[in-house]
Structures are given as structure tokens and as C-alpha cells.
Amino acid sequence: MKTRILIFSLLVMAFFGLSVSAVMAQDGLSFCYVIHSDPAGSFWNVATAGAQAAAAQVGADLTAVGSLDPVQQAQFIEDCIAQGVDGLAVSLANPDALRDAVGHAVEAGIPVVTLNSGVDVFRELGAITHVGQTEFVAGQGSGLRFNDMGVSHVLCVIHEEGNIGLEQRCDGVADSFSGTVDRFNVASTGVNDLAGTTSTIQDKLTADSSIDAIITLNPDVGVAARDAIAAAGSSQVLATFDLSPTILQAIVDGQVAFAIDQQQYLQGYLPIIFLNLYNVNANTVGGGLPVLTGPGFVDASNAASVIALSAAGTR
Amino acid sequence: MNEPIIQLKHISKQFGTVIALRGISTEIYAGEVTCLLGDNGAGKSTLIKILSGFHRPTEGEYLFQGKPTSFASPREALAAGIATVYQDLAMVPLMSIWRNFFLGSEPEIGRGPFRRYDIAFAKRTVKEELGKMGIFIRDPEQPVGTMSGGERQSLAIARAVYHGAKVLILDEPTAALGVKQAGVVLKYVVQAKARGLGVIFISHNPHHAFVVGDRFVILRRGRIYGAWHKEGLDRDVLVRAMSGSEELDALKHELDEFARRDVQK
């Protein structure tokens, strides 16, 4: 009896599997999109939506995967190579770690476009182009805005360990800002425990009253910082990297001064389009230079128009 | 008469202000079963723990094979040949019979890095040794946890005998057993004695003790209440002495009841 149930459920699973694979197995091209994070995060789901929209437009299969663990990210890339995909879009947050895997893709004749992180190494690794913003420049732009606002002590909140891009943003802020920039590590709670991150930031604000501005590097952490400021009863100037519906509303409400928008939808969308063009028309975009998607700034002057698009998951 | 294998002279043990044992003097002889009887709290456990090296006496002399001895640990006592089979059994229930039988003294073959457990020997030996005591096991791979309580006690006794014990201390081996299984264990106690071991049989059941014992020592409140040889001893005397009161006759009825319930404990 038990054996029969087991066999039956196996058959059901197999049937389900076959029908899924039948849907997946189209004759078009297949691309891999491998990022250094969970594809469902509030930043990355917009980029992933862009990649999926592009794949749908050109009629290609898309495998969208990601992991914070560089070993796993390298293994995902190797998996894609083994599958014989027609193109690889990859974010290079840890270029050293992915050097070999990306090298294997290039050796196997798979066109590679890097996205989001990796602007310094994409050429060396043999990628066609890079789609993203340069983190240092984006950081510099924010530093200049802080100067205009007349603040003197900025807290740069780092929410992830081992992401070189986040460090570069803070470096950029420190480079152009005329006052003090302190780094504040909240990676122990990060985006996985935003309540914890909120209270950690609140404690920091209570402990150091000289801080008059905060910049967060992720929109969820931006919201956490907004709540922390409210809870601490203080009035720091808040800015954040990247958008989310909540952040946009907070800009409209005057709780957040500005957001640095890198238009990550494009970071998912464009690489797939570029890879498709490379395959069907032998085009290369960028001419050896990165394709920049940012920084753009969203503040009270333009937030309202972006809100509707953000709610749709494309901004 | 031959020399006692263990001799205790005026042994006392104090835990802080509590006096657990006072002036215990007795002898254990090879090839005899010495029964240590007494109610709960009489000092039986403390006395075994001194004999097996867990505790050292506060006062008095402990002679093993005629020499004054002071064991630092149960392992030392075990190495000297004093094996204790505890009530809660030194067995690993999830492990096979043969692994349990040789636990801590595994037979090995091979050299250097290829030195390994002689499993074939272990399985064969455990079957033989148990066979000698009349236990036929179905499969030496059987986990000990699947054996009955009596079988486990018997296995523990067989293990101690095989590993060269000179003195075997059995802590309430029949306490948790039914009548039938207790009978099986008592049989192995007699066999261990026949092999020339000095057996110390701890019990608070005078009926079980009377069947196997050669000498009887009754402890009450940390002192020796009395000691008897089997010859000419009436079981009732023992029962009475153990219950330890002259008012016994008046309570005889209830005490019989008590003794029966005691079996279940």
C-alpha cells in the first residue's frame, strides 16, 4: 500500500516535471542571469523583472539565479556552461572569486555581459560590456549633494559583508564630502532582520548626536534608517541608494532627502537584449566601455512621477 | 580456610556531616556469593562505591588480595579485577551485542595504521561466551536495546567474567526484573561463582538473596546489623533480620505483602 502511494506520487511528480520542461523547451536562445544576491530582494526583483521582460520580448529562455555565497555563484555559472546556454549575464561583486568561472564561459564561446558590479574587470575577463553605474562616482555625487545641504557628519550604513561595491559607494561619499564620513556595519542584521537593523541605527544615533546625515546603500535599510530617526526623535538628513515604493513615498513626504537611482531595471533588461543582439546580429554594444544606467537622483521634484512605475515593479 | 579476596576493616564514610557508613568490617571470598542486604538508605550504595573505586573511605582499611588498597578511579579497580555491574547497566542500547561486549577492551589485528577491530573474533567469541552461560543470541549484530532486561544483565555478567574479573559486584541485578527473568539472572550468578569469582550480590530482596547466597551481611543505618553463613540459616531469620525489628511477628502479614511488592521495585 505504502509502496503504491510512493510510486503514484513519483509518477505525478514526473508528469508535472515533464509538462514544466515541455513549456520551458522552446527552440529559441537560452540565457543565464546569475547575480550575487537573492533575485527576490527589493532591489534585485526589479532587475530580474527587466531580464525576464527582455527574454520574453526576444523569445528566449531565461534561467535567473543568484546567491550571496561566491562559491555558489561560481557553481551557478558552471551549471549554465554545462547546460550550453547562449549567453551569460552576471554581476561581479567578487571578481576574484568568479574569475575562473567567467573565464570558462568565455573559453566555451559563451558571450558574457557583466551587470551592476564589475566595471573595473569586465574587459579583462573578456565580457562584451558592462551594464551598471560606477559605484564610486555615484557615491561622489551623493557627497556633493550633502555638501550643498550643509551637513557635517555622515553615517554610511553598510548592510552586507564582502560586497566591494558597497565599500566603493562609501569611498565615493568620503571622497567628495567636505565633512566626516563614518562607516557603520549592520551586516549582523542587515536586510534579513530589518527590525534589528532599525534598532542598531537608532542606538548609534542616540549614542552619537553629532551625526547629522545618514546614507544607506539599500532601500530597505533606508526605510529602517527612517524609522530609526523617528524612534530616536532626531532629525538627520537621510539619503539612500536605490528606490522602492516606500522610499519614493518617503521622499514625497519629506522624510528622505534624495535617492540615488541606478535604474536597475536596465541592468537586467539591457544585458539580455545585448546578448540576444550578439547572437542574432553579431552586434556588440558599448565599444569596450561600460553602459551606464546611473546615477540618477530622485528627490521631491520628480518622485511623484516615478511612484507609479515603481509600484509596477519596473523602477 | 583460604584467605579472603577482599577484606574491609572498620570502614567509615562521611559526606560532610552525614555519616553514611560506620565501622564496617567484613570479608569477601573467591568462589562464594556474599549477599549485601539492606533497605533503601542502609548504606549499600556507598559501600559498593568504595569497593569499586568511586569513593575512598574516610576511615578504615581496604585490603584487596591481602594488600592495603586505595583505588583512585573505577578504571583502576576494573584493571585490578573488580568489575561492577550497575543497576542502570553499563551498556549502549543502540550498539550491537558484540560491540558492547568488547567495549573498552577491543580485540585488534593488523599493524600500524591498518590496526583494526578483529570483528570476526569478537562476534565468534561473544556467541561462545554467551553460549557457555546458556544464552543463545539470535544475531551478535542485534542492538542491546532490543534485548530483555534479564538478557542484558546476563550479558553484562558474561562480559565481566570474560574480561577476567576476580570480584563481581552486582548492584540490584534482579530489582527491575520479573520472577522468570530474575531466575535467569540468578542462574548466571551461580555460574560466575562456580568459575571461582568472588561475587557481591546487592539486593533488598531476601528471597532472591537466599537462593544464591553463601554469606549474608545485613546493613542498617550505615552499620552492620548482622552476618550469617548459609548453613543452618532459616529464610525467615533473614527476612526478619532484614526488616529488622522484634515487632516483626506482629507485622508479619504486612511484611509478606511488602516482600512481594518488593519484587516489582
Partner: protein, 363 residues
């Protein structure tokens, strides 16, 4: 099923029942089911040598850890610092070789000695304090999680140690620990060879040496083991050191593969190791299990991860799938353990004296 022999106290047991009784069988069935499942979904890319090579890549390092953690669990203990130690050992090599300019091999050996020390301290604290190893090693985990970030940032001003591939001797070290090689038309990694060798040696020690018996005993009933003269403390400390040693090996593999060491490396992996061991039939409370089973548990992980990627599914579902796998594996293990007991304890024995563990009560 159970045939009576001439001696009616002995019962011969069918081969099928004996196979069912082994701890790894649940994992083996699980691995087969998952493999067939994903083979049906991706028939073109999954069930072939290339697909296998992909499965073995993540399975190898996980498998090495699962073997060590499995032994430790059979010995009745946990090590929550095993994940973070794979990061600490790699960072230490990077910091010593890249930033302190110490010879790479000296750095590697120093890192090993350090891992041994951490393993010893873990074990020593567990046997001395008699606190649950869960708590002791959780403390170790937090300490090193902080040290990894703190020291790395202090020395490098970053959160990783880069440039390990610029040190003289890197290529040789990489060849030793984790490089690629071609076999039967697919690319495999040397970590696979390490895994196979370690699993075989560990299994031999567990099943064929006295130390193996001691490991089962200290996990199954430490008091009994002590009373039988087993050096319980030494065995437990040795098991913690073995786990730390395995973490060192995987740390080396990761650092040389990635040419860098990340301060967050390995955080959270400790539960994956434990899960692989549990899927492989290791009892959470100790005293029972198999390192081959733990290795198969690691294989299930590899099959699932690669299978989902090949199927083009959303990896969002990976953990849900894993949860179901874990549950099924544990249920299967419980079921087989019950069957295992039945092999030895027939329900209707021919003897009037049934083998029961509870005492009979006289009438």
C-alpha cells in the same frame, strides 16, 4: 519474511530486511528519487556525465564537512562553528601570506594548527563544562564571525583578502586543494577526490576500528562508555578537532578556488552540514549514523541545487524543496530504524519469552 531455523531461539533474517536496517538506506532512496525526478525534468542536460560533474561540485566540499560533522553527531555533539571556520582558516592563510608576507606553505600549516587549536578548545570546553555543545560552539561561531570581519577590515580596510593568487606557490597549492581536471569528457574538481578518500577512511575508522566503537559508545551512552574504560573526553575532543580539521580543508579549497577569502565565508553553512548528516541517517541525539549516509546527504543537496538550476526553476523555491527533502528523509530514517529494530525483534517470536525492554510484572 522471518524463517525459523532448527534452533527455534535463532531467527534468520532476510537480506532485504538487513539492507533496510542500515542507516544510510533512507538517504540512498532519497537520492535516487531526487535524481530520477530531475532527470525526467531535464532529460537532455541532467542525467549524463556533465550533469553528474555539476552535482559533484557543490557536493564535494559539503560532503567533506558532512562526514566530519556526521562523526561528531554520532559522538553525540554539535559544532555550530564549523561553517564560520571554513572562512576563518581561509582568511588566516590570506592575511598571513598576502599581508604579513609569510611563506604560503607556512601560512597553510599555521592555519591548520590554528584550526586544531580551535577544535581542541571547543572540545575541551564541552567536556569540562558539561554544557551542551550547541551553546559552546554557538559562542565560538559568534566570536569568529566577529573576528573574521573585524580583523580583515583592520588589516585590509576591506571585507575580504584579495590577491591570494599572487603569492608564490599559489598554483601548486591550488592543484593540491581544489583544481579542475578532465575525466570522461567532463570537468571535475580535486575536492571530489579528497571527499571520496576522506569518506572511505572515516567509514573504515567508524566501522572497523575500536575508535569507531568508542564514537558510537560516547554518543549512545557516555556513562556506559566511561564505565567500560573508553576515554570519553579524548574521543569527544578528537571529534571536535576532526571537524575543525575538515573545516580547514574546505577553507583552503574555497580560498584557492576563489583566489580570495571573504569575511562572510561559511556563515550559515553549519546548519547545511548538519542537515546533510541528518538526511544521511545520523541521529540528532547521537549514537547512530553513517558517514557514507552523510555523504549521500551531501549528494542530495548537490542534485537538488543543480537540478533546480537546470530545470530553469526559480531558485526562490530551493529552500522549500530542501525543507520537504529534510522532512521526508527524517521520516524515512525513523521508519527504517523502526524496521531495523523489527529485524532483531520479531513481532510474534516463536519463544514464549518475548524480548521486551520493559519489565514484566508478577501477578
Amino acid at each position: 519474511m522471518l524463517a525459523k531455523t532448527d534452533d527455534d531461539r535463532r531467527i534468520s533474517v532476510g537480506l532485504f530486511r538487513k539492507v533496510v536496517a542500515s542507516p544510510e538506506i533512507g538517504a540512498l532512496v532519497g537520492a535516487a528519487v531526487v535524481f530520477v525526478f530531475f532527470s525526467l525534468i531535464s532529460p537532455d542536460v541532467f542525467p549524463n556525465i556533465v550533469g553528474l560533474s555539476r552535482v559533484l561540485d557543490p557536493a564535494a566540499t559539503l560532503g567533506i564537512m558532512a562526514v566530519a560533522v556526521g562523526l561528531l553527531m554520532i559522538g553525540g555533539e554539535f559544532d555550530l562553528s564549523s561553517g564560520v571556520m571554513t572562512g576563518t582558516t581561509g582568511l588566516l592563510v590570506g592575511l598571513l601570506a598576502v599581508h604579513a608576507g609569510i611563506n604560503l606553505w607556512v601560512a597553510i600549516v599555521t592555519s591548520f594548527a590554528f584550526a586544531m587549536l580551535v577544535g581542541f578548545v571547543n572540545g575541551y570546553m564541552v567536556v569540562k563544562t558539561k554544557l551542551p555543545s550547541f551553546i559552546i560552539t554557538l559562542a565560538t561561531f559568534f566570536v569568529f564571525r566577529g573576528v573574521n570581519v573585524g580583523v580583515t577590515r583592520l588589516v585590509t580596510n576591506q571585507v575580504r583578502v584579495a590577491g591570494i593568487d599572487t603569492i608564490p606557490g599559489f598554483e601548486l597549492a591550488r592543484t593540491l586543494f581544489d583544481t579542475e581536471f578532465q575525466f570522461a569528457g567532463a570537468t571535475f574538481r580535486t575536492s571530489l577526490i579528497w571527499w571520496i578518500v576522506i569518506a572511505l577512511i572515516a567509514s573504515w575508522i567508524l566501522l572497523r576500528t575500536k575508535v569507531g566503537s568508542w564514537i558510537f559508545a560516547v554518543g549512545g551512552n557516555p556513562d556506559a562508555a566511561r564505565a567500560s574504560g573508553v576515554p570519553v573526553k579524548a574521543v569527544k575532543i578528537g571529534l571536535f578537532m576532526t571537524t575543525a580539521g575538515a573545516a580547514w580543508l574546505v577553507g583552503m579549497m574555497t580560498a584557492f578556488r576563489l583566489r580570495s577569502a571573504l569575511s562572510s565565508q561559511g556563515v550559515g553553512q553549519e546548519f547545511v552540514f548538519i542537515i546533510a548528516a541528518v538526511i544521511g541517517g545520523c541521529r540528532l541525539t547521537g549514537g547512530y549514523g553513517s558517514v557514507i549516509g552523510a555523504s549521500i546527504g551531501a549528494m542530495i543537496f548537490g542534485i537538488t541545487r543543480v537540478g533546480i538550476t537546470f530545470a530553469g526553476w526559480d531558485t526562490d523555491w530551493f529552500f522549500s524543496f530542501l525543507g520537504i527533502m529534510l522532512l521526508v528523509a527524517v521520516l524515512l530514517n525513523t521508519y527504517t530504524q523502526k524496521k531495523a529494530a523489527e529485524v532483531h525483534t520479531p513481532k510474534a517470536p516463536p519463544e514464549p519469552e518475548p524480548a521486551r525492554s520493559h519489565p514484566e510484572t508478577p501477578s
